[in-house]
């Protein structure tokens, strides 16, 4: 069993998807427990895999015993396992959260389908993280993206549909670009294995074809990660999706784009290439810096809670890419750490937004007056999430800010330093407005059915994430022990 773990983590949710479909067909109520147990099993498998990775360093698995570079190889190193654990942890919580929260937002007859697609999405993102084959990565990217389009449009009402359609169009274009990039790489080298590519590419670093491939990758991945000027699909998709899906998108789906970007930039093309031969990192960092500022400014302008969080996500993606783009150990650590942090904080905040909508139906920030008293636990989670987004110590948000800022000083990038520090003030502006409404303004009389907190299945994931915001902040050395070697190996001695 143990030696098949890398492939098991992908197969479990695939099997689960069909089991829950069948289970849901027998009785609708079976779909959720099957899905939940499935992800739980998968998470356990991932934990076992973590143990192996910590022992062996890199775990390789050849699919169907075909040797690389001909067969598909699954490679799990520290970066993979780190991302995998984040994704599965968040998927698990989102799944738990969905039990009650989709009741209002998705028609009951669609629940079975919801969990099936949910599991397919999980299978897709898991596949992305464990695969060592670049075409396989594309296929999994498409599986999870297709599932994401469907989930976005699964809610009631038409806005989610249109948002889902636009997301689909943008996502497919980006997939096509990635496919083109892969084609160019294959044309040049005749291999699709990432490790193999990294080995055979260096003599070709000056080739125009390689540069073309690289540009295709960058554009395609930028759309997937919603890097600033290409983020247009994101706000609508996040806003109009059911709350669970918003949480899932902002934590899991966005992370997979970021992961793919880091993988392709640093494991396929190497630091040497992206810095020396095709100096794109400088450009990416500037773009990320603009994304941070623009995302925050746009978030300030929003009156809808989920849309505000969506724009803030645009900024936060910028944080991660800025950390990656500055190409030094400290900033890289900060960027990769921020993947965890952003998942935890944004997941928490989207769940809080969902809880408000669940209880009161209010989406606008102005309507949330006095929520602090009516939903104390939900609001407490909101406070921690918001403080973390602002980067108040000792929450997780501060830790990544610390590393990013130190990295910027190390790189001598004063503008980026200013951007990092200023953005925490900007996020203070919009999160504080939210807190002010929730806590320090009195609500106008009683609202129908608007008292009491949300049911426990929704509350617990939220509080777990809020606690994680604090715990990972205080015991930040735990994720760091995984990240430090990752950052080092990605930079490869630069």
């Amino acid at each position: 069993m143990m030696e098949h773990l890398p492939v098991l983590v992908v197969i479990i949710p695939l099997i689960g998807a069909y089991t829950s479909l069948v289970g849901g067909w027998v009785d609708r109520r079976y779909a959720f427990p099957i899905a939940f147990i499935n992800i739980l099993t998968q998470f356990t498998a991932a934990l076992l895999l973590t143990v192996r990775v910590m022992q062996e360093g890199v775990v390789r698995y050849n699919l169907g015993d075909w040797l690389p570079p001909w067969g598909i190889e699954y490679v799990v190193d520290r970066l993979n396992i780190y991302v995998l654990l984040i994704l599965l942890f968040l998927s698990l919580l989102c799944c738990a959260y969905s039990k009650r929260s989709i009741g209002m937002e998705i028609e009951e007859r669609k629940h079975t389908g919801f969990y099936t697609i949910f599991l397919l999405l999980v299978a897709g993102v898991t596949g992305i993280t464990v695969t060592g084959d670049i075409f396989n990565l594309y296929v999994f990217l498409e599986i999870s993206s297709l599932a994401a389009y469907t989930l976005v449009s699964s809610g009631r009402g038409g806005k989610g549909l249109v948002a889902g359609f636009n997301y689909l169009v943008m996502g497919s274009v980006s997939a096509c670009f990635i496919l083109l990039g892969i084609g160019h790489l294959y044309m040049l080298t005749g291999t699709l294995n990432m490790a193999d590519l990294a080995r055979v590419l260096p003599p070709l670093y000056t080739s125009t074809t390689l540069h073309t491939a690289f540009v295709f990758f960058i554009v395609g991945l930028s759309i997937k990660t919603a890097l600033f000027p290409l983020h247009l699909w994101l706000p609508d998709a996040y806003t109009h999706a059911p709350s669970t899906v918003s949480a899932l998108l902002s934590t899991v789906v966005s992370k997979m784009g970021v992961y793919a970007t880091i993988r392709i930039l640093f494991s396929v093309f190497t630091v040497e290439f992206v810095v020396g031969y095709f100096p794109v990192m400088e450009f990416l960092s500037w773009l990320a810096a603009i994304a941070i500022i623009a995302g925050s400014l746009l978030a300030i302008a929003q009156r809808d809670l989920k849309r505000m969080l969506a724009y803030s996500s645009v900024g936060q993606m910028g944080y991660i890419l800025l950390g990656v783009g500055m190409v030094n150990q400290l900033a890289m650590t900060g960027g990769i750490l921020h993947m965890l942090n952003h998942a935890v904080m944004k997941g928490c905040l989207f769940m809080v937004a969902g809880a408000f909508i669940f209880r009161t139906g209010f989406r606008r920030i102005d309507d949330l007056k006095g929520m602090g008293k009516r939903m104390p636990w939900t609001s407490a989670a909101l406070v921690i999430g918001a403080l973390s987004m602002i980067g108040i110590p000792p929450t997780v948000g501060f830790m990544s800010k610390w590393y990013l800022a130190l990295g910027a000083i190390e790189a001598g990038q004063w503008v980026f330093l200013a951007v990092i520090l200023a953005s925490s003030l900007l996020s203070a502006v919009y999160f504080w407005r939210l807190l002010e409404y929730v806590y320090f303004r009195e609500g106008e009389g009683g609202v129908e059915g608007g008292t009491g907190d949300v049911p426990l299945p929704m509350l617990i994931p939220m509080l777990v994430l809020a606690a994680a915001c604090l715990l990972f902040g205080i015991f930040v050395s735990i994720p760091l022990s995984l990240i430090d070697p990752v950052a080092e190996s990605l930079l490869g001695g630069v």
Partner: protein
């Protein structure tokens, strides 16, 4: 003597945090909340007091809480320098807990759990700032202090309070960013941020960088309310009186001034500071603040606002003292932390007493109030005399030391600033006393009596304490201050 490993400082900080949690959990039961708050304050003070004999013996108490990030530990280190501030805030927390109970009873308090919890967290942060072993720890709790005092500022929930709260945050969060920036640079330049006697920056940076860094630190410690970054403080006076009293006369603003002292003495080091000419800039800023704020104070009719401007001026005494870079000056500055705290809290408490029993906030309406409330106004008079720096109150000693320090440093203009400031202080305090005692009571005040016991007792207690400390200044603060200065100078 070897530093002593002991968890006592950590527990002293943990107690208020736990109290805050308990208070929030039992938010329905008012008496329980008050009891928790009072108990926690006594317990905290007792814990800090345990540290006192150790430090007086000359040993220092350390406790490394957690290795948070590489190169950034969360650690506590109690020396005479920090203990002065820690003792001040924790002892005053007891009286202001009592006072809060009385004040909130009289005021039909709402959201009490939030109020007391935030109060406890703020005190814990102030304590942690006092006992921080490194700049990183100081920064973390400095930020928590900012956040935890926000709910107190906007406690009333009025539109004015919200506006004040936004202003408060805008100033202090921006300051926090600058402090973070300075912290990052210190870390980058010196490779660490532990407070070390004699500084850690010497030899790591050019004079120019040091000056820039000094500027960012100064902006970072905007909590010290130096001009022109002072205007958040008078605005924050919309908060309930106990908050204005403890936080905006003691914990928050002193955290700023204290932080600045720490940084100058333990990060820059006195030699580097004088070599780079930092002291001149600080002397200039502090002197201007002292004089200008006094004039501003003269113009205020609202009593709490007048006190706020007076606080701004008095805080700059501390900055001025440290800027002199002489033993006497620093000792004076250190002494001014507790002494001003006791006197100013008395003044705020009495202002609150007047508000509770008569509802008056403006000085012009307080005609003859001293005849109706002799005890309250007696306490006020004591405090006011002390702030002006007249013997036998404690304010006299800190000012004396500051004056000696300025002579020692050969900075005669500073002496002039000190003297003229005392005159100005008298000019804005004595009209209040005259109005209160000599004018005929207004019609509306007929039948008004003394404030409720629970608010009156703390006011009297702090007034008496300021008098006592004036009579016996040696114990413990003067002792501690001399020890701190000796340690700085590198002596035994």
């Amino acid at each position: 003597m070897e530093p002593l490993e002991s968890p006592v400082p950590f527990i002293a900080i943990l107690v208020p945090f736990c109290a805050a949690a308990l208070i929030l959990l039992s938010y329905r039961r008012r008496r329980l909340i008050e009891a928790y708050s009072l108990l926690a304050s006594i317990l905290t003070f007792a814990l800090v007091l345990i540290l006192l004999p150790r430090v007086m013996e000359g040993s220092e108490v350390t406790w490394s809480v957690l290795k948070l990030l590489p190169g950034a530990n969360l650690g506590l280190h109690v020396d005479a320098f920090g203990l002065i501030f820690a003792l001040t805030s924790s002892s005053l927390w007891i009286v202001s807990s009592l006072y809060s109970i009385g004040y909130m009873n009289a005021h039909d308090g709402h959201n009490l759990a939030r109020f007391y919890a935030a109060f406890a967290i703020a005190i814990a942060s102030a304590l942690a700032v006092a006992m921080a072993a490194n700049l990183f720890t100081l920064f973390i709790f400095y930020e928590i202090l900012t956040i935890s005092t926000y709910p107190l500022v906007v406690h009333e929930g009025t539109e004015e309070a919200m506006r004040a709260g936004r202003k408060y945050l805008a100033y202090l969060l921006t300051a926090g960013v600058f402090l973070l920036l300075s912290l990052l640079f210190t870390q980058h330049l010196a490779g660490g941020n532990e407070f070390t006697s004699g500084g850690i920056l010497a030899g790591h940076a050019t004079d120019f960088i040091v000056r820039i860094l000094f500027l960012t630190f100064l902006i970072g410690f905007a909590k010290a309310a130096w001009m022109p970054l002072h205007s958040w403080l008078p605005t924050a006076m919309v908060a309930p009186t106990p908050v204005s009293a403890l936080l905006h006369a003691v914990a928050v603003v002193k955290a700023g001034a204290f932080g600045m002292m720490r940084v100058i003495c333990y990060i820059f080091g006195l030699e580097l500071a004088s070599a780079a000419g930092l002291n001149m800039a600080l002397i200039l800023i502090a002197s201007v603040t002292i004089l200008v704020s006094s004039f501003f104070a003269l113009a205020q009719d609202n009593l709490k606002r007048r006190l706020a401007y007076s606080t701004i001026g008095q805080l700059s005494y501390i900055l001025l003292g440290v800027a002199l870079l002489t033993p006497q000056g620093i000792a004076g500055a250190l002494l001014h932390i507790p002494f001003h705290a006791y006197m100013k809290i008395t003044l705020f408490f009495t202002a609150g007493c007047i508000l509770v029993s008569t509802g008056l906030e403006n000085i012009s309406e307080m005609k003859g109030i001293g005849r109706r409330m002799p005890l309250t106004m007696g306490a006020f008079t004591l405090g006011a005399i002390g702030v002006c720096g007249f013997p036998p109150l404690c304010g006299f000693f800190s000012k004396l030391l500051l004056a000696e320090g300025s002579v020692e440093a050969g900075a005669i203009p500073v002496l002039l600033v000190l003297l003229s400031s005392s005159v100005l202080n008298a000019a804005y305090f004595f009209p209040i006393i005259r109005t209160a005692f000599l004018d005929d009571p207004a019609e509306e005040l007929r039948g008004r009596k003394e404030a409720p016991v629970l608010v009156l007792i703390p006011s009297l207690a702090t007034a008496l304490l300021s008098l006592l400390m004036g009579l016996y200044p040696a114990f413990p603060f003067l002792e501690l201050a001399t020890m701190a200065v000796r340690a700085l100078a590198g002596g035994p």
